[in-house]
């Protein structure tokens, strides 16, 4: 078998790409490779770009990446698009806006389909971040799905989350669901060339100022205006990202964030693995179907079955 861990560390894009596929497929072979890569993670800085469909996330990602490259930094991009719940297929179209980056050896772009995972990311996105981190990318940019306003998963994964709002797409403060404003470390008002941009900018700025008075927050999110297609305001956005990074590092918040991430991740891994093992055991010899028969015939309740299965498993 090929030594994918070594190859990823040596910078083989092919090994990184295949490992990512294994992670997406939940292929068990990925586990050993990830274990070996893990000591080499934690270096990359992770930026999330979220916002409604068509807000300009991909265009911004493209321009932001060029700006990072000009600063001599290498970049990994993870662009997530939704899978169809009906066919399981997906059209992953974000690369259209990033064409010129595809031949830059300092950039690695991976498109991911959600495969039924909710929250704006794919299930394996966190693992893919680690691969690109170990692969040596300095900054990792994650573009979320942008299907709605429930994409809060990104704040668990990203060090800095940029919320992209645009005039005319229904992005008004009133229409925003509770909790959405709170995910932003940086607000981006994109399509600032469009009518209504000034008003949206004023609205968001006012809201940020109000929040600063209402709650004790060590970081006040800046509001940055951009015209992504014209590459306007992107340097300012990048500056804001660097500012936020410095704030997180100096205040110790970055360490806290990463600690929290490690805790959640560990619990999630245990959860996933336990579930997988119990399910595999129950399905291997038809026991699950027998239990379902009992439940369907109302001879036993699912609560009882759950307790018995887990009790038995814990004793072993």
């Amino acid at each position: 078998m090929q030594d994918y861990a070594q190859q990823v560390l040596e910078g083989s894009p092919r090994a990184a790409a295949r490992l990512i596929s294994w992670l997406e497929d939940e292929d068990e072979r990925a586990l050993d490779v990830m274990e070996r890569l893990y000591p080499h993670t934690g270096r990359a800085y992770i930026v999330g770009i979220t916002g409604s469909p068509g807000a300009g996330k991909s265009t911004l990602t493209d321009k932001l990446t060029f700006a990072l490259r000009r600063q001599g930094l290498t970049v990994g991009i993870i662009a997530v698009d939704p899978s169809s719940p009906f066919t399981g297929g997906a059209v992953l179209g974000d690369r259209v806006r990033m064409s010129r980056l595809s031949t830059d050896p300092g950039v690695f772009i991976r498109s991911m389909a959600t495969r039924g995972f909710l929250g704006g990311l794919a299930k394996a996105t966190g693992e893919v971040v680690k691969v690109l981190d170990a692969f040596g990318k300095d900054v990792i940019v994650i573009e979320t799905v942008g299907v709605g306003q429930d994409e809060v998963d990104i704040i668990r994964l990203a060090d800095t989350t940029c919320l992209v709002l645009v005039p005319g797409l229904g992005d008004t403060i009133q229409s925003m669901k509770a909790g959405v404003m709170e995910i932003a470390d940086i607000f981006v008002i994109n399509k600032a060339d469009r009518p209504g941009a000034d008003q949206l900018y004023a609205e968001v700025t006012t809201r940020v100022e109000q929040d600063a008075h209402l709650k004790e927050r060590a970081w006040t999110p800046p509001v940055v205006r951009t015209v992504a297609v014209e590459d306007q305001g992107v340097d300012r956005l990048l500056e804001a990202v660097h500012d936020h990074r410095r704030f997180l590092e100096d205040s110790g918040a970055l360490e806290d964030k990463r600690r929290r991430r490690a805790r959640e991740e560990t619990l999630q891994m245990i959860h996933g693995e336990l579930f997988r093992r119990i399910r595999d055991r129950l399905t291997a010899d038809g026991e699950l179907e027998a239990l379902v028969d009992e439940i369907a015939a109302k001879r036993r309740s699912p609560y009882r079955v759950m307790r018995e299965v887990i009790g038995r498993w814990l004793k072993e």
Partner: protein, 135 residues
């Protein structure tokens, strides 16, 4: 239990003409067939297409050409894929391609060429039959 393996396909439109309706439609058809389709947009160079295939770990590259550049672009993509060690990636082509060009394209390593009237089910079936088994 591992997830069901999805076929990942790059749909690319090499050359300079500015029509992508056909390629977009193909992308949708493949997605409807349950594949994960990376749509790359217009004016792709062979280098861009092959780097994309590499990073995305694509099983299939689907090339669409209307502008008569296929005799250069299609074999070039195959050649670059081979240079990158991606020789198990299935390359198929479509668009407006004169039938007398087809033997040469196939000799160059393009697995199949689908003319404008080909039923889409046939294209999907061909891909499913001939795609690599990823290890």
């Amino acid at each position: 239990m591992a997830q069901e393996r999805k076929i990942k396909i790059i749909v690319a439109k090499p050359g300079l003409d500015g029509h992508d309706r056909g390629a977009k439609l193909l992308a949708r058809i493949f997605a409807e067939a349950g594949m994960e389709v990376v749509y790359t947009g217009l004016r792709q160079t062979p280098e861009m297409i092959v780097e994309t295939a590499l990073q995305e770990d694509a099983d299939v590259v689907g090339l669409s050409s209307l502008s008569g550049v296929h005799m250069y672009f299609f074999p070039r993509v195959v050649q670059l894929l081979r240079e990158k060690g991606l020789d198990d990636v299935l390359v198929v082509g479509g668009g407006i391609i004169p039938s007398e060009d087809i033997p040469e394209l196939k000799k160059a390593g393009v697995a199949e060429i689908f003319g404008p009237g080909t039923p889409t089910a046939k294209i999907v079936e061909f891909i499913k039959q001939n795609v690599r088994r990823r290890d």
